[in-house]
Symmetry: C2
Subunit: 451 residues, 2 copies
């Protein structure tokens, strides 16, 4: 028997472990050896759960770990934690680990993940400034709170910023959010972002918008004690960074793998690097594309990482597979306010050259007379003329957010607003008004087409 | 100026009032007079809310009334409550009310609604046996509970039966449910119906299946005190009928309007009676059709009534409109168990001649580590070969039920299971696992196609 082929995976989180698991499903160990190299001590953890661990809703670090190296070992996937890859030799077909060890591969999956944005602000590296990327980051924030931090300052108003703001408030901290943008959640239109901003202020958070941070202020011990913007200074016992996520491509770029226009690793629809068909990239380090416009995109989300990893693992396992693109669906909450979006916002629709119509409606999550009915707003964007749905945004009380999936599915399928307005959505008083808010929004935007 | 045309509407609930309101939006009173004749004292009420009023979650009868006759009067729609129509003269173009008054029409909308099924069981008309159709029915059940009823017996395991069982239990009654079918929720497949049955028993309800009721037992005063089946007798202080709903077509049939194969009034896709283009029927009295098979169907639900009424009103108002058919989407809950379905169940798929595949998966409503994550099961049915989705069923804890809308939208759009598995659904730990249960089910059934 010939030697087994070897798949090496760099990075043991969503993309890498999905690739490994899918390849193993399709090819037994006798045919394919699988080695995963992970620089940290844990694999397959839910970074998305860190804010809820900090906030105390999730009991322990171990709960965020979906599978351990031992569980992968039972499936004949070798996971080497604490193994940092320092180089990829594409010509030789091996990767080099920190101590100099070489791992030859027949197939390589690059799953190096994302890199939190760290603008060149003086003091950003000081103690007391925390990221939200790895489990150790979460542990560090928890330790700072346990040590007595009373005032938390969050930089950035994206979903990580919002979730960390909620977490700090749940732990009893006074919360200040400072953002360079005019509103939180920049992938919402302004009318919807204003609802989020008002909701956060209603929760008692101080939200300072349109203020780029110029400096992290340090106390005598060199520890962060606040930030300074052009408009003022804000004290804090801890500072959390939620400034977005770029692709971690250092290794890939050094090896000579091509990067795309977004700065992420350029791959085809099967997650294959174009000039190196034996190399795949998946997850936050890889470029992807918009399902609607076909244009290159970089969207750092666990859902895509899982699916892209699975695509790579399928192809490596011998089964053709394609990643079908992204809509940019995102869902989060701050307190009881749920926030979701999918497809193109009006700015993106304009940039993509669409003539569009947009309508925002207000409704309730349940029948108006039913206890727990909460306000919710739905914004829909459709292509002028065809009526095809291009984008959707939802902001509202409990029960609002997951409705984005109906809209994402309608956009995915190329439905028009009129199609959706006439579709057979469910109704019962504890769950929705007789016309679901989604249908009300669809009717509103389709009516603008009818004139 | 010529006299205004007159639209007469028989029945002032969802279908009739939607027709009236939509016609009025399109044509002013100078052009179109609108008269609604309603036999009861109220119009535009939410019959679907009655169980929640009985159960005490909705405070008062008035909360279930969406709009009063005075509100319609302000929109120049005349509503005559307490006016029972006893005849339609299609040749003369008028309807006759109880006292002999005639109302001539240019257009007529028949919105006579549904008729609760009342099988010929001795004693079914006795005091102590209650329907759940009109607000007066709800008031009567409430009065019986207030008068001291302690044991409630529900006949039937459809959504009205389940909702009333929950309502009675909320009010402190011992609840027994007796059904002729082998399982509750006959529009679910057996594996899903069993989950419902187990859930009800887990709530402490006595559920007796496969037992047709032969007789309502009466006490010395002639009041219902239980029921007798072939297998036993069950005591009760009140008996609630939840045996389903047929179309109320007495007036239509007597007038000579054609009925369809389902026994409901036969209409075209614009809700027009085929031989009488000036007459429309909408809502629970009208036949409709399956979006999937094109075949005639009768589905008594407020959502369709509203939409069909609006279609009729649009056409009468001069704007072409078509009702696009139904999937049979339905959503309910019993206690914390949410139950939803759409499209074809396996029996229906077989009857319609489809080769199909079906898969049931188990997942959780939120990330498994997030507080409040509850079990949920999703069953998907797809066409063999094409992979097109045909039907879906969901049973699970809070947050499960409304996910049926994603599946209904996918079926509406003609998506395959593979399309749905790859689509961009939302994820955040408080809302779903990283693969939403909907996507997990889609992948499971699409995998059966791949072999």
């Amino acid at each position: 028997m010939a030697d087994a082929h070897r798949l090496v995976v760099i990075g043991g989180d969503a993309a890498g472990m999905s690739a490994a698991a899918q390849a193993r499903r399709l090819r037994p160990a006798a045919e394919l050896e699988i080695v995963v190299l992970e620089q940290d001590g844990e694999v397959s953890y839910s970074a998305c759960g860190i804010p809820y661990w900090v906030g105390g809703q999730v009991g322990g670090r171990h709960e965020l770990i979906a599978r351990t190296p031992a569980e992968f070992a039972a499936r004949e996937i070798t996971v080497q934690t604490g193994t940092r890859v320092v180089g990829i030799d594409l010509d030789a077909g091996h990767v080099v680990a920190g101590g100099g060890a070489r791992f030859g591969y027949d197939h390589l999956v690059v799953g190096t993940g994302g890199r939190p944005s760290r603008p060149p602000i003086p003091g950003l590296d000081a103690p007391g400034v925390f990221g939200v990327h790895r489990l150790d980051d979460g542990a560090a924030v928890r330790a700072a709170i346990d040590a007595g931090a009373r005032r938390g300052l969050v930089l950035g108003g994206g979903y990580i910023g919002l979730e960390m703001a909620e977490a700090l408030q749940r732990r009893g901290l006074e919360v200040t959010v400072v953002l360079a943008d005019p509103l939180p959640m920049q992938l919402l239109d302004a009318d919807m972002g204003e609802r989020v901003c008002a909701g956060m202020r209603g929760m008692g958070m101080a939200v300072h918008t349109d203020q780029a941070v110029r400096e992290v202020l340090l106390d005598a011990a060199g520890r962060a004690c606040g930030v300074r913007t052009d408009e003022g200074s804000y004290d804090a016992d801890l500072v959390v960074l939620g400034l977005g996520m770029g692709p971690e491509v250092t290794l890939a770029a050094e090896a000579g793998l091509a990067l795309g226009t977004t700065g992420a690793i350029d791959v085809d629809h099967s997650q294959r690097c174009r000039d190196h068909p034996e190399v795949f990239a998946a997850g936050d380090c890889a470029q992807t594309f918009s399902r609607i416009t076909g244009e290159a995109a970089h969207v750092a989300l666990g859902t895509h990482a899982n699916k892209q990893g699975r695509v790579a693992g399928s192809v490596i396992g011998g089964r053709p597979a394609r990643f079908p693109g992204v809509l940019g669906t995102a869902l989060t909450k701050v307190g009881d306010l749920e926030i979701a979006r999918t497809g193109l916002c009006t700015t993106q629709a304009e940039e993509a050259g669409f003539g569009y119509r947009a309508e925002t409606i207000e409704a309730t999550t349940r029948a108006g007379y039913f206890p727990g009915a909460e306000d919710m707003a739905v914004k829909l964007i459709s292509e002028r003329g065809s009526g095809r749905l291009l984008g959707a945004q939802v902001v509202g009380g409990p029960g609002s957010g997951k409705r984005i999936d109906v809209l994402a599915t309608a956009i995915w399928a190329g439905m028009t607003a009129e199609d959706l307005a006439g579709s057979d959505l469910s109704y019962a008083p504890p769950f929705s008004p007789v016309y679901d808010p989604v249908a009300v929004a669809a009717r509103a935007v389709s009516r603008t087409e009818q004139g």
